[in-house]
Point group: C2
Chain length 215, copies 2
């Protein structure tokens, strides 16, 4: 097996890459990095050489290592193009990337563990305030995405084929549900969610199915 | 002129795209969107049809419109590949994207105007606390980037050629300096900054040179 993925079961960025690997039927070794135990295993000297931002995921391919889920998924799509995740001509690929980035830079960074911990410690906010912060950002991001996709979606984000956009959407909706948000408010997004969650690659990549998920 | 850019002079995401346009010598019409005046011009009905997240930049190319700076720069690089911004083989391009994302999803989202306004209104924090929040996130992001680039940089982020990574770095350093951060702490990054700021495309794209910059 040439590929290794350093992953945390509940990390939405790791989840995106796991779907890509499963969808492309790439065998890989799963290396759990527990973000909470042992002072955060991402902070060890060995791991931070692989990933200078001390985050998951990191993918290694033989002696090559790479982080940032967007960069990893683009790389997998260039190195192993079938089935393609950035589908279509330059304009279509651009729209797929726009959808990915609405989540990748527009939502996820504002609600990840490190940021929430910093909010709590800098501003002494309580759990209720923290939840409101997350929900507000996720709602405005998902609303923008729902509206953007209205001229693109079919069974999935872009017509009836899986694209990279679906790999970003499903983990973000999983996160939203952890915060008890009602995702059926977003009719297209929740329909796409249902469709994706029936597919083998999404099932295998789900947080609950990972070796480091609690029993 | 086939291209129009909806931009705000001081927006670092707009600045990235302006450098790409100048570097590729693409003529474009500049359409200023003032993020503060008139209740935020990004919030008008007309603009929010173009950009459902109500952000800058948006690029239009004939009847095609696109937002998210990463998606725009990838699109320009596919549609008008010379000179190339994502240079090299799949592995090299992946590393360039990783550097871009360390800024695009790792730093910028935590210190943009909308997020800072929300911090102030949700948690009643003062200017000093706001500045500390920005500086902490920018510092940890730039430190991770400085360390990551140690095995890649030359005159620029990747060797001695301009790549997309430089288009993300220079606007982020401009922002850091607005917050009075000492960017010479990052030896490679500040050297790259100096080198880039001498180039015509970076000079033309600079916030101070835009039609909507205050006199």
């Amino acid at each position: 097996v040439d590929f290794k993925l350093y992953s945390y079961y509940r990390s939405s960025c790791s989840y995106r890459v796991r779907i890509a690997l499963e969808y492309k039927k790439i065998q890989y070794t799963y290396i759990p990095i527990h973000l909470l135990q042992n002072g955060g295993e991402q902070n060890t000297e060995g791991y931070s050489k692989l990933n200078t931002k001390k985050e998951v995921p990191t993918l290694t391919h033989q002696d090559f290592h790479l982080s940032q889920s967007m960069a990893i998924i683009e790389y997998l799509d260039e190195a192993l193009p079938k089935p393609q995740l950035f589908l279509g001509d330059a304009k279509q690929k651009a729209k797929i990337r726009q959808a990915c980035e609405l989540i990748n830079s527009g939502i996820q960074p504002l609600q990840n563990l490190r940021v929430l911990n910093k909010l709590a410690s800098d501003f002494k906010i309580d759990e209720l305030q923290k939840t409101k912060w997350v929900v507000d950002h996720v709602q405005s991001g998902l609303a923008a995405l729902e509206s953007f996709l209205s001229s693109h979606s079919g069974q999935f984000c872009f017509g009836d084929s899986i694209t990279a956009a679906d790999l970003f959407l499903i983990p973000q909706l999983y996160n939203a549900e952890r915060y008890k948000m009602d995702i059926t408010l977003y009719k297209q997004l929740s329909k796409i969610n249902k469709n994706c969650l029936q597919l083998e690659s999404f099932i295998k990549a789900h947080p609950d199915q990972q070796p480091d998920a609690p029993k």
